[in-house]
């Protein structure tokens, strides 16, 4: 292959005009309160913070910051609801409430998609086609479990735990809320949920849905705020269970905070997944899988395929095709229906990513970025590759949580596998080969909780998700996701 003579040009005469999703049907209030005991209430200390649209740095709304007292109030409401309504309700009726949530989410899907994109910066295509439908599907899936729990764990009696404290990240705000709330409610628990401080709006909109669906007051409580709000929830003595999705560092501190208590916990933490391409793979689909693996949601994905391991004999071909493919990725206004890569969620996250870009180059890596033009306001990062890096480099070892792919080559299956497993993380992995026997050898040997073979970054409510090693413990989704919210005896 001679790249200089046969180069494809994607800067075509025919360009797509802007195709912005309409926002005229969207209502965002100027100020949002805490959702406690079925009502929106002001925070005791009167503190608020701004939620920013990362694509244009405009303030979308002022959002209440819950202090310790507010968290205590929410836990009290959840406890009361647990004791007086939710735990005494017939399981089938419990399920019907959850079905209602699913249905209303479906009805209001476009509104949620738009707000998700405004608040978090992800492309409207993803919030519209992935986040919101999956969130609704998650409620729909777990609703059906509510009156069938005795079939899930053979030989065991099941019982709800009580009050679950749930802390979710900013990368899939509504979807993570659904992943947390749906199984908790189905299993008969009540909930205090803390959304991430940069993306609180869809959770607060979900509060409206939950209220409108007629759930008994206090069954779901939503307390917005930053890390201190989360810490207050973790430290609250009347919480039976903490479910956390976020960084391994915070997960570790939660595990420590809960030491000496009987509070149960599940953790869904970071990752540095290897996406392994063998020479006999369907290369074009593999390239697409690489793109979905690392550029989906700006790379703000804990299970992102952030390490590409490509067999040496096809490395040039794969990298060349990847670079061509990156040229057709549209970076920009998340509200444009054609945007593939939206805004980086926050200035802090952008700074962290840019740090890693500097580190990667300082470590001797060769950086390549697509030629996409970036908007002048907002937080952006071009899709980025690092070649010439090795296991010892920080961009290979550490979770960047951005659209940055570290590429290494390998020669034999064993070498690829060794490199894939040479990490303290174990959330996900990818394998690409046309040979069935090799798929099973690899998918069994990769030490991670979700393995995508000849595909990547697929999610489904029926499919359990969660990590090995420092990527966390417990599963979300599917039958296995019930375990986190039940006492088995």
């Amino acid at each position: 292959m001679d790249e200089t003579t046969s180069k494809l040009a994607f800067d075509t005469d025919w360009q797509y005009d802007p195709a912005p999703e309409s926002t005229d049907h969207i209502r965002i209030d100027e100020q949002y309160e805490l959702f406690i005991g079925g009502e929106f209430v002001a925070p005791k200390e009167g503190r608020y913070f701004d939620s920013i649209n990362p694509a244009n740095e405009q303030v979308l709304a002022r959002v209440a910051a819950a202090g310790k007292d507010d968290v205590a109030r929410a836990v009290k409401a959840a406890r009361k609801a647990y004791q007086t309504s939710w735990s005494t309700l017939k399981p089938a009726e419990r399920g019907k409430y959850i079905y209602r949530i699913a249905r209303v989410l479906q009805e209001r899907a476009r509104e949620f998609a738009v707000i998700e994109t405004l608040d978090g910066g992800k492309p409207i295509r993803e919030s519209r086609d992935i986040d919101i439908p999956l969130a609704a599907a998650h409620f729909f899936y777990y609703a059906g479990w509510a009156d069938k729990l005795e079939y899930a764990f053979p030989g065991k009696q099941v019982a709800a735990l009580g009050v679950a404290g749930q802390i979710i990240p900013w990368n899939f705000p509504l979807l993570m809320a659904a992943w947390k709330i749906a199984p908790a409610l189905a299993c008969g628990n009540t909930v205090v949920l803390k959304p991430a401080e940069t993306t609180p709006l869809t959770a607060l909109k979900l509060a409206e849905v939950i209220r409108d669906a007629g759930l008994p007051p206090g069954v779901v409580n939503i307390v917005t705020g930053a890390g201190d709000t989360g810490a207050a929830l973790v430290d609250h003595p009347d919480i039976d269970k903490i479910a956390f999705t976020g960084s391994t560092a915070v997960g570790r501190s939660i595990q420590k905070s809960l030491a000496g208590t009987s509070t149960k916990y599940t953790l869904e933490l970071g990752g540095k997944a290897a996406n392994i391409i063998f020479a006999d793979a369907a290369i074009d689909e593999a390239v697409e899988g690489i793109v979905n693996g690392i550029f989906f949601n700006q790379g703000h994905v804990c299970c992102a395929g952030s390490r590409l391991l490509v067999q040496e004999s096809v490395a040039d071909e794969v990298i060349r095709k990847l670079k061509d493919r990156m040229e057709s990725l549209i970076v920009g206004d998340p509200m444009d229906k054609n945007t593939d890569i939206g805004a980086i969620n926050s200035p802090a996250q952008l700074a962290k990513i840019e740090d890693y870009l500097r580190i990667g180059q300082a470590e001797g890596g060769e950086m390549y970025q697509s030629s996409a033009t970036l908007p002048t306001t907002g937080y952006w990062c071009r899709p980025t590759l690092f070649t010439g890096v090795s296991q010892s480099n920080r961009v290979v070892q550490e979770e960047i949580f951005g659209p940055v792919l570290a590429i290494q080559t390998f020669r034999t299956l064993e070498e690829g596998l060794d490199k894939a497993n040479n990490t303290p993380y174990g959330l996900s992995g990818g394998v690409w080969t046309d040979k069935g026997a090799k798929i099973f050898k690899m998918t069994r040997a990769i030490r991670a909780g979700v393995i995508w073979a000849n595909t990547f970054n697929k999610f489904d409510p029926a499919s359990p998700f969660g990590g090995y090693k420092e990527s966390g413990m417990g599963r979300e989704g599917g039958l296995h996701g019930l375990d986190a919210y039940l006492e088995l005896s």
Partner: protein
């Protein structure tokens, strides 16, 4: 010592109780010991295992993990069954040893019998628990999707203090039935059967490093059992709140799974079950496209 009491018979040969690490029986590298008493009598000098012994044991367990987890479930069942056979054959020795450590003869007999049966029980689970806990997941896209349990890796076990043989056997059996390798800390007050049990393991062709057993001080070794970065899970059976907290704090350093098994009467059916295996399993979900 105790065996030398009866002066009318030949001089009995006493037994030296050592550690079991990587399929070998070394003395503790520290050279330390603690005397084990039965009333006023010293019945054995037991190794006071060290942090370094723990490290050696974890290294051995890690080295053995790939092989043991890759062994067929059927063969793991055969080996567990073989352990039961060997223990049955030596049951009188174990009864005598338990009596020496303070149990009544009747209780000792029961403990040995239940231990044997427990091994048989888990031998039968090795190729079945996966079927109970697996699932094929009906995802909406054109993919085949399934979830299976896999062993979590190296498991440290702080075995029940009050149940010298059965408690140890129950916890080791559940861990290795699931394909994990383990490092167990024997009961401090009843360590002899634990060490004798490792001889049974050895005779039953359990591969080196799959089970490692240390004797020694809980206060001294718990930290390493909980903190070692190459340990994936810790099983704690004593229920001491302060120790439990210490374990959690150390475990958090590498997001170690902490399994608490307190208040369990190991001699009953409550002391066994596939969920004991599941405690040290990870669930792996695999996706693959369906197409032509």
């Amino acid at each position: 010592m105790a065996d030398l009491k009866d002066k009318n018979t030949r001089l009995a040969v006493g037994k030296t109780y050592k550690l079991y690490i990587d399929g070998k029986f070394p003395r503790t590298e520290s050279g330390r010991y603690y005397p084990l008493h039965n009333k006023d009598e010293i019945i054995a000098n037991v190794c006071l295992g060290s942090r370094k012994d723990t490290r050696e044991a974890v290294v051995a367990a890690r080295k053995a993990f790939a092989g043991w987890s890759g062994t067929s479930a059927y063969l793991r069942g055969q080996i567990l069954y073989r352990i039961a056979e060997m223990l049955e054959g030596r049951s009188e020795q174990f009864v005598a040893e338990l009596v020496k450590q303070g149990l009544t003869k009747a209780k000792a007999r029961t403990e040995v019998a239940v231990s044997i049966d427990r091994l048989v029980y888990y031998a039968g689970w090795t190729d079945k628990f996966q079927q109970v806990f697996s699932s094929v997941n009906p995802v909406s896209s054109a993919h085949f999707n399934f979830t299976v349990p896999e062993p979590t890796g190296v498991v440290t076990i702080i075995a029940p203090e009050e149940s010298g043989l059965l408690g140890l056997v129950s916890n080791i059996a559940a861990a290795i039935a699931g394909g994990n390798t383990c490092v167990a800390l024997a009961s401090y007050s009843m360590p002899l059967s634990a060490i004798s049990f490792t001889e049974v393991l050895h005779a039953a062709d359990v591969p080196a490093g799959v089970v490692n057993v240390l004797t020694g001080s809980r206060a001294e070794l718990t930290e390493q059992f909980a903190a070692h970065m190459d340990v994936n899970a810790i099983v704690y059976c004593d229920g001491d709140a302060a120790v439990d907290r210490e374990i959690q704090l150390h475990a958090a350093n590498n997001i170690k799974r902490v399994v608490r098994r307190t208040g369990i009467d190991w001699s009953t059916e409550k002391g066994q079950g596939p969920y004991f295996i599941r405690d040290t399993q990870e669930f792996k979900t695999t996706w693959h496209p369906v197409g032509g």
